[in-house]
């Protein structure tokens, strides 16, 4: 019977707790606080935080069979894996991000972008946030934090402010960084209303912020359908590596706009995206094992993330000012910052800042154009990185 007791004690996890776990518990508490009380992207951060908590507890039947961060957890004795070995396949096999994009497509109205195609360029400019940080990440070696070029690519995509795309690319180029990259991306997306306004005000004059834009023309159903099909085809032909994301995005959008498959479109907008979000979030969290998470590399990612958002914001604004030099219909540069994606937070920030300059100015719909263009742009950048480094 002492054997039994000894066996029982050895199987409690008390002896397996180390200081890194304790630190991670505090990180989790912080994430939960931000998610619940500061409403930082709670749909993702709550599952992520719970996954991270689980990763830093002495569990059984959870991570068996998983392989991350150089650590291989062996399978269970009966040859099966732990619970998250199976759930994580959704990320490992790159199923979850495209499925989330199906829902995002079904939730997105491309009307404002179609009505004002110039805003594609604002979404393009904002991708400089990604490339600028790519350089910055590569230069981090001079302050002692070295990233491979693959890692630089995975990290820099944080500047695209698009969760599923970041996870998709990170799984390809730097799977051990998925947790840090996803947390960084979602946290800064939630911080968009804090990060962007000072930059927006610094780079624009009061007069520019007061520009009123021509109201957008109505876009017919057929035009939206043609747009979805043609843009999907073009994107896939030019950047085949982005196929899974962009195919699903535009399939979802076509279902939304065609008006004859409402039951499918509603399922994509609700059941499908909700179910996948829970499992995606928890899977991302499970990679945040303290042993590997608490490194200078991870802190570096947090620093680079905020830089990426700032750069993307600035370059969107600069592009808007550049376009105003050559274009008759003036663009309010405040909508340039919406090119960062972070749908729809960034567009709302444009609206709020615009109304501060002129309370009668409604920029929201105009800002939705670069906002959704940024989603497409970032998916293409991910495809570019996968082509170059994959």
């Amino acid at each position: 019977m002492f054997d039994l007791l000894h066996h029982l004690y050895e199987n409690t996890g008390i002896s397996h707790i180390d200081w890194r776990m304790l630190v991670m518990w505090l990180v989790v508490a912080g994430l939960l606080y931000l998610a619940v009380y500061r409403k930082f992207e709670p749909l993702l951060l709550i599952p992520i935080a719970f996954g991270a908590l689980l990763a830093n507890l002495p569990t059984e039947g959870i991570v068996e069979g998983m392989e991350f961060a150089g650590q291989h957890h062996p399978m269970k004795e009966d040859g099966t894996g732990g619970l998250f070995y199976y759930i994580f396949q959704g990320i490992h096999l790159e199923l979850f991000p495209p499925i989330i994009f199906l829902g995002v497509g079904a939730l997105t109205d491309f009307g404002p972008l179609i009505a004002n195609p110039k805003t594609f360029l604002l979404g393009a400019a904002a991708q400089f946030g990604v490339f600028g940080v790519f350089i910055a990440a590569a230069f981090m070696k001079y302050i002692g934090i070295e990233y491979s070029l693959q890692e630089c690519g995975a990290i820099s995509i944080i500047g695209g402010a698009d969760g599923p795309t970041s996870i998709f690319l990170a799984n390809k180029l730097a799977p051990h960084l998925i947790g840090a990259i996803a947390v960084s991306a979602y946290s800064y997306m939630a911080l968009v209303p804090v990060i962007q306004p000072p930059i927006m005000r610094a780079l624009t004059s009061v007069k520019e912020r007061g520009i009123r834009m021509r109201s957008l023309r109505r876009v017919s159903k057929l035009e939206k359908l043609v747009f979805a099909v043609l843009i999907m085809m073009l994107c896939i032909i030019l950047v085949p590596a982005a196929s899974p994301l962009l195919f699903m995005l535009f399939l979802g959008n076509f279902m939304r706009e065609c008006g004859v498959v409402d039951r499918l479109s509603k399922s994509a907008q609700n059941e499908i995206i909700n179910i996948v979000t829970i499992f995606l979030g928890a899977s991302v969290g499970i990679t945040m094992d303290g042993t590997y998470f608490l490194t200078p590399q991870t802190l570096g990612i947090l620093a680079l993330g905020v830089l990426a958002f700032a750069l993307a914001t600035a370059s969107g604004i600069w592009m808007a000012k550049l376009l105003n030099l050559v274009s008759k219909n003036k663009i309010n540069p405040l909508i340039g910052s919406a090119g960062v994606s972070a749908v729809p937070m960034a567009a709302r920030v444009s609206q709020v800042e615009g109304q501060k300059a002129d309370p009668g100015n409604f920029l929201l719909m105009h800002a939705m154009g670069p906002n959704v263009a940024g989603v497409i742009g970032t998916a293409l950048v991910a495809g570019f990185f996968m082509t170059v480094f994959g």
Partner: protein, 148 residues
């Protein structure tokens, strides 16, 4: 497109030993900007075509709606039918500009008028019957109970 990028790419220097950060950034950013510019042009072209078509169709639709409405219901005041048609184009997003849909709506408006008469009314919503097997199946089963 590829050529014009390649000219700029020279600036980033020799890349014989695998991709270099500088090269990746210049090529990558230009690539993305050019692709999105291309998407912008295509979208503009689509938009231009549709704007022209929409103008043409709107005129045709108004005419069609009026004549059809009159044909169907002499007693119906043409006003109510055309107001329905106007509302149609105002409602936006949900209606496409095809002539036959507008005409159909005018027909329905006229028919409603014939039944309801002069009491004030308004066609609030006309929903095409969802054609899906399942939805359809269920709707049929329900409606069949009333038929019987």
């Amino acid at each position: 497109m590829i050529h014009s990028i390649s000219v700029l790419a020279q600036l980033a220097g020799d890349a014989s030993a695998g991709p270099k950060p500088g090269g990746v950034v210049i090529v990558g950013f230009l690539f993305v900007v050019i692709v999105l510019a291309l998407l912008a042009s295509v979208t503009s072209a689509i938009g231009a075509w549709f704007t022209k078509q929409a103008a043409k169709n709107a005129a045709q639709a108004a005419a069609a709606a009026k004549s059809t409405a009159e044909a169907f219901s002499q007693s119906a005041s043409a006003g109510s039918a055309s107001s329905a048609a106007t509302e149609d184009s105002a409602t936006g997003d949900k209606t496409d500009t095809e002539t036959d849909d507008s005409a159909l709506m005018a027909v329905i408006a006229a028919a409603v008028h014939t039944v309801i008469g002069d009491r004030p009314h308004r066609v609030v919503s006309i929903r095409s019957s969802g054609p899906g097997w399942a939805q359809e199946g269920r709707r049929q089963i329900f409606s069949s109970h009333r038929v019987r």
